[in-house]
């Protein structure tokens, strides 16, 4: 898809991009702190990734290679639309390959392939405030962040254990960044939380409707909150990916017919495809062959 004439590079005007970059710089300087920014109207509704798109627009350059994923896949509606939006407004190269991308905008997943120095992750965030469900007042949550008054986060985890016997929070699992700010990692599964920790890539979070940007600089300590006797654990599956046989990736359950048939496949399509290209096969594929 080629570049469309008439728009500024990456859609936003230069002053808006400067404003967003200033917010990003502040966010990087204070890891996990939510920096307010003047979120703009974008040509798609709030909740569809406007925060992530504005952050991407502010940091993207003509030499970047962009990858956009939605729930781990490169070919879902949200990913396809955002990718074509940037193809048309910037003309930059795009890719499906995690390893080739310099800039990755994501919704709900972190790629399975390890990130590298120089890469930037941009997360789309619906609700940036991790304390929101327990404290509805914004003035109070800001004060709680200011005073590092985070006991209430554990009340939520306590409730999980009391009702389900384990911490049942499975996505948007709260983390403590750099030993200071409690942060919402956006609705990624907790399976991805360990990848936030000490990542060589720069991680930027944009919430368009809530008008907040926050960041995790490279090589920053990110801990998932837990109890001493109920430590943080990630999801486990007792089966492998049906297509590529991977046992170390996040699996999606896919219903295949209306008679209860279902398979589990990697949610990260690039990772799965890479493994298949390298000759790995899952149980289903072997049977078919």
């Amino acid at each position: 898809m080629s570049k469309v004439e008439g728009y500024n590079f990456a859609y936003l005007d230069e002053q808006t991009k400067r404003m967003i970059r200033r917010s990003i710089l502040k966010a990087v300087a204070i890891p996990g702190y939510q920096v307010p920014f003047g979120s703009r109207e974008m040509p798609l509704p709030y909740g569809w990734g406007t925060g992530g798109i504005q952050v991407t627009a502010a940091v993207i350059g003509p030499d970047d290679t962009l990858k956009v994923i939605d729930q781990g896949a490169d070919d879902t509606t949200n990913a396809v639309n955002i990718r074509s939006f940037f193809e048309q407004t910037t003309g930059v190269a795009t890719t499906d390959k995690t390893r080739e991308a310099t800039l990755i905008q994501t919704r709900h997943r972190i790629p399975e392939a390890p990130l590298a120095e120089g890469q930037i992750m941009v997360y789309q965030v619906p609700i940036p405030e991790p304390l929101r469900w327990l404290e509805p007042r914004e003035t109070e949550t800001r004060k709680m962040h200011g005073l590092a008054d985070y006991g209430v986060m554990h009340v939520k985890l306590y409730e999980d254990i009391a009702h389900y016997g384990h911490i049942s929070t499975a996505y948007d699992y709260p983390v403590l960044v750099n030993g200071r700010y409690v942060m919402s990692p956006s609705p990624i599964p907790k399976f991805d939380n360990p990848k936030l920790d000490n990542s060589p890539a720069l991680q930027l979070f944009g919430a368009g409707r809530e008008k907040r940007i926050y960041a995790i600089p490279p090589y920053t300590k990110v801990e998932s909150l837990d109890f001493e006797d109920h430590p943080f654990q990630i999801e486990k599956w007792d089966r492998a990916c049906a297509i590529c046989g991977a046992t170390d990736s996040y699996l999606d359950e896919i219903v295949t017919d209306d008679r209860g048939g279902r398979i589990f496949v990697c949610s990260d399509t690039d990772y799965c495809g890479e493994r298949v290209a390298a000759g790995h096969r899952g149980a289903d594929e072997e049977q078919a062959a």
């Binding site: 006991g151 306590y158 409730e159 009702h163 006797d229």
Partner: protein, 256 residues
């Protein structure tokens, strides 16, 4: 003996309107002070100023802090004041809805203070919560129930447990028996009297109910139009009221 709480010249005005004016008293460890008066007499404003919920217009509230001695609570930094109010103090609200988190279980309500001061062991928090439920006469089996499923009296007892779990030295109570029927009130008062004596708590109790102060308070202050009109030992003030307003208040109680 050093007073636990020393209040002098405490005044709170809302613009031209007076909340409370020039209130001063001392509260000693283990003592229970009752503040009585009609609605609008400034009782709750005074309690909110004392318990660091509302900044007074003038005057000081000095608290005998562990290790620091008497310190004006408004000279503390905000984190210090927050820490004080959730460890060494307890605040029991008139409406349990103001004092409890209604959307989380009874156990989490009791455990919240422990977690706020750094407790990170689920098993210990739970054991402590069960112990406290029993002490305030709620079945330990209801630990995972929401406070919305509790009766008014149980909610009030849960609020007390939630406040006492960190072993405070001073508890502020605003109409703790408000809205409860008389038999439930009696049980609650009995429980509070027991806990106050057992734990050697000091307490400041605001109420319009003279029976409550008669049972719980060692000393009382009578307030009218924002001022303290009479203060003294409970029995002395109630049996031999000097001020005209106190006389009116005492004679207004219905005899059954």
């Amino acid at each position: 003996m050093t007073p636990l709480l020393t209040v002098s010249g405490l005044t709170k005005t809302y613009g031209a309107h007076t909340g409370c004016r020039d209130v001063g008293f001392e509260l000693f460890p283990g003592e229970v002070l009752g503040i009585v008066g009609e609605s609008g007499s400034g009782k709750t404003t005074l309690l909110r100023c004392l318990s660091a919920q509302l900044a007074p217009t003038s005057g000081t509230v000095a608290y005998d802090m562990r290790g620091l001695g008497p310190t004006d609570i408004w000279s503390l930094s905000e984190p210090e004041r927050r820490m004080l109010t959730r460890t060494d103090w307890g605040i029991v609200h008139q409406s349990a809805r103001d004092g409890l988190r209604m959307e989380v279980s009874a156990g989490a309500n009791i455990g919240e203070r422990l977690m706020a001061v750094g407790s990170r062991h689920y098993g210990n928090i739970r054991t402590e919560a069960e112990g406290w439920l029993t002490r305030v006469e709620i079945e330990a089996g209801r630990i995972d129930d929401l406070p919305t499923t509790f009766s008014g009296g149980m909610q009030q007892r849960l609020q007390i447990a939630r406040n006492l779990v960190t072993g405070p030295r001073l508890v502020f109570m605003d109409e703790p028996t408000g809205g409860l029927d008389v038999s439930v009130q009696a049980r609650l008062l009995d429980l509070m009297r027991g806990l106050v004596r057992q734990m050697g708590l000091s307490a400041v109790i605001v109420t319009h109910d003279l029976a409550v102060v008669r049972l719980l308070a060692d000393r009382i202050m009578v307030m009218k139009d924002g001022r303290v009109v009479e203060a003294g030992l409970t029995d002395q003030v109630l049996d031999d009221p000097r001020h005209a307003y106190t006389q009116l208040l005492v004679s207004s109680v219905l005899q059954v």
